[in-house]
Symmetry: C2
Subunit: 473 residues, 2 copies
Amino acid sequence: MASGKELCEGVEWRIRVVDGSSEVLVPPTGLARKVWLRTKGLISGLGMKVRMFLKQAWDMGANDPRKVIHCIKVGLALTIVSLVYFMRPLYDGVGGNAMWAIMTVVVVFEPTVGATLYKCLNRVCATCLAGFLAVGVHWIASQSGDRFEPFVVGASIFILASIATFSRFIPSVKSMFDYGAMIFILTFSIVAISGYRVDKLFDLAHQRISTIIIGTSLCILVIMLVCPIWSGQELHSLTVRNMDKLSDSLDGCVRQYFTNSNGEDDQKLQGYKCVLSSKASEESMANFARWEPSHGRFNFRHPWKQYLKIGASMRSCAYCIEALNSCINSENQAAESIKKHLSTSCLKVSSSSSSAIKELAESVKKMNKSPTIDLLVEEMNSALEELHNDLKSLSHLLNPSTTAENQISATGLVPFMEIIPAVTLASILIEISVRIEALVGSVEELVKESEMKDKIVAKEEKPEGTMKALQRV
Amino acid sequence: MASGKELCEGVEWRIRVVDGSSEVLVPPTGLARKVWLRTKGLISGLGMKVRMFLKQAWDMGANDPRKVIHCIKVGLALTIVSLVYFMRPLYDGVGGNAMWAIMTVVVVFEPTVGATLYKCLNRVCATCLAGFLAVGVHWIASQSGDRFEPFVVGASIFILASIATFSRFIPSVKSMFDYGAMIFILTFSIVAISGYRVDKLFDLAHQRISTIIIGTSLCILVIMLVCPIWSGQELHSLTVRNMDKLSDSLDGCVRQYFTNSNGEDDQKLQGYKCVLSSKASEESMANFARWEPSHGRFNFRHPWKQYLKIGASMRSCAYCIEALNSCINSENQAAESIKKHLSTSCLKVSSSSSSAIKELAESVKKMNKSPTIDLLVEEMNSALEELHNDLKSLSHLLNPSTTAENQISATGLVPFMEIIPAVTLASILIEISVRIEALVGSVEELVKESEMKDKIVAKEEKPEGTMKALQRV
């Protein structure tokens, strides 16, 4: 806008009038014009921002259509609840509080099945528990006479609300019942206080509970039947995807260093950063996955916690890749001859480690022990052995004199300082391979535990088989 | 329990009876006894768990009494709302929907001022906006005739709920208006549907909005007057605390390596892990701090986002400390002579870098540019120079032969492999000091921005001064 104004003031506009002379067109420099220009600028700026915002939203929807589907699901569930309210007979059945059903749908509907189930179960259980308690407190209060009644109710609300709020800070309660504790306080307060005025206490409780059950059942039906997104499945895919990224980053970084190519896909190289930042989402997904019934290849009580251990192992690898990356981008570069000396073995280590991670990803994907992982780890170890030997023989290339930089060309030897970056890189690579072995261990544990759970479930699902076995005894 | 049972079955109890012989006391092995033992075990196990849980809760409360205060605040606010409901005159004023006030208090009350303000403002604005929109839609629906009315209402709910849900996925909306979008859907649906039945539409909207305003004002009063916890202050202290931890870890790790002492406090050494895992809480605090008015030394629009940059710089240092830690705990240890050779300069680098970080923490704490930080960075750089020289002269200690392990004692020279761990450690230390310089930059930016904001606020607060300046012109 400012530049437009300058242009207006810089150029002089002339107009040829009838008598042949020309007149200077003085631009209207009054207040009105300034206001107009400023307003125009503001509006065009706003228009630009809105357009950017809409583009961002469109891209997000196009990149992940499941988000759009989720929105349609929410709209669907809410519209169905409205229909419940429109239909007279049902409306008479659940009372004028159909609003509770709407509220339940809005509050409880989450993108994944696990999160929705967690909220539904917490809501129903906490409402029932708080309702019963509130009725009890109300009975005690009504026995204590008109004068003490408000005090009893007030004190009970104060004490229970404080305790329930405190419980929300305790990690074990927070992870399982955070939402339930809030609903408990809410229901208890409303029922206890309403009880003071409204005498139809049981009616209120019955209405609230039945509408909430209608709302939650509707949510569960919609979320599980219309394109369900399972937290467990998401956690599983995230783990596999992160392993692939880790493997690509590791291989890409080392290859870029030794081949000096800048052709590597930068997004691929930075993939390890996703691993660094996915702790919070992994934890919440594992938390919600516990609430999900069997789906796909995952049984109820699938070892979801093991995914967190795998995530931690992956992050410990990613920290090292971050250090590796800083070696690569550092100002002090190793001498070319040193790079050449180490390149074969380093590339072998990185490619074998990254294929080991790829194989682990495959193993998690298929949820069975990979037949080739032991072989790959062995290969990685033999590559490490080779790297060790190359490092040992590095001293031959070394110039023992500290100030002999001018002798280099003559002898082909390298001053000690120019060895350091490559040696650092190599020893970080060695550390990464140690951490990959830990990753192998945690993946194997996951596969073993999941197979064990599968067997238990299979046993429970075949009671005839168990009966026969018992008869034989 | 199991071991107790074994003991019972293993030892034979005899009792001497009157005639001199002794009788074997057969333990009651019936079903009843087994059930009793199992029940006893279950109960004692449960009791143990409950005791552990209570101990954990007690410790949590004792470690952070502010959590207990928060719980009392929630109880207090809820009890006051109940009093509002108990007092007839006010009750008649806000109608039978005093329940909405209770609900608002329960849902909106968060541990920090920022989070509570965020929810309060979102709730009030979204309720008003959705209320007006719903009244408009209801008017259009009522104009379209009895047959189409449900369709118009249903379609509007479907469309608006879907769009609002979608907007919650967009990062910029999510960080500012996530809660507002949910309340918008809720209020719009309830008002639009209730409009179909209840004719007193404006009454409903008026009631809901006035009760919500009562609830939110009460929450804001209680949260800001009774021992307030400010998100901004928390973020500030977390940043300072994390810097101190980073500095302690860095210094402790290097000192433990070179002095071989295991006396270092392990908790201090692991402090950098807090830095690694505090990204999520930093982000949410910075998000809530934006909603807070001026408090303490922080003005409204204090550059909270800059804290996130500082956090990122700290994490990049912490990644390197993690790599450093793995060097220290690695199996391959450097030869003692090498360690001795590098120890002085490495210790100097680590102590100067860690005192630079400590000084940065002090600078953030006092929110002014430290006068000594430049000096400390210079000191760190000269220590680095020394380390460089020590590394260069390392080649003198090196045994050029690769298989000459038996010659070591004779010559005092060290094989190349035993140099590597110390060299790696040194080069990671160098990398850490590079990252500390980036940290210095981001802290200085924070201090500068905050001083700038202070000046702007000081200007705005002195309108007389501005007036005088204008008169002079």
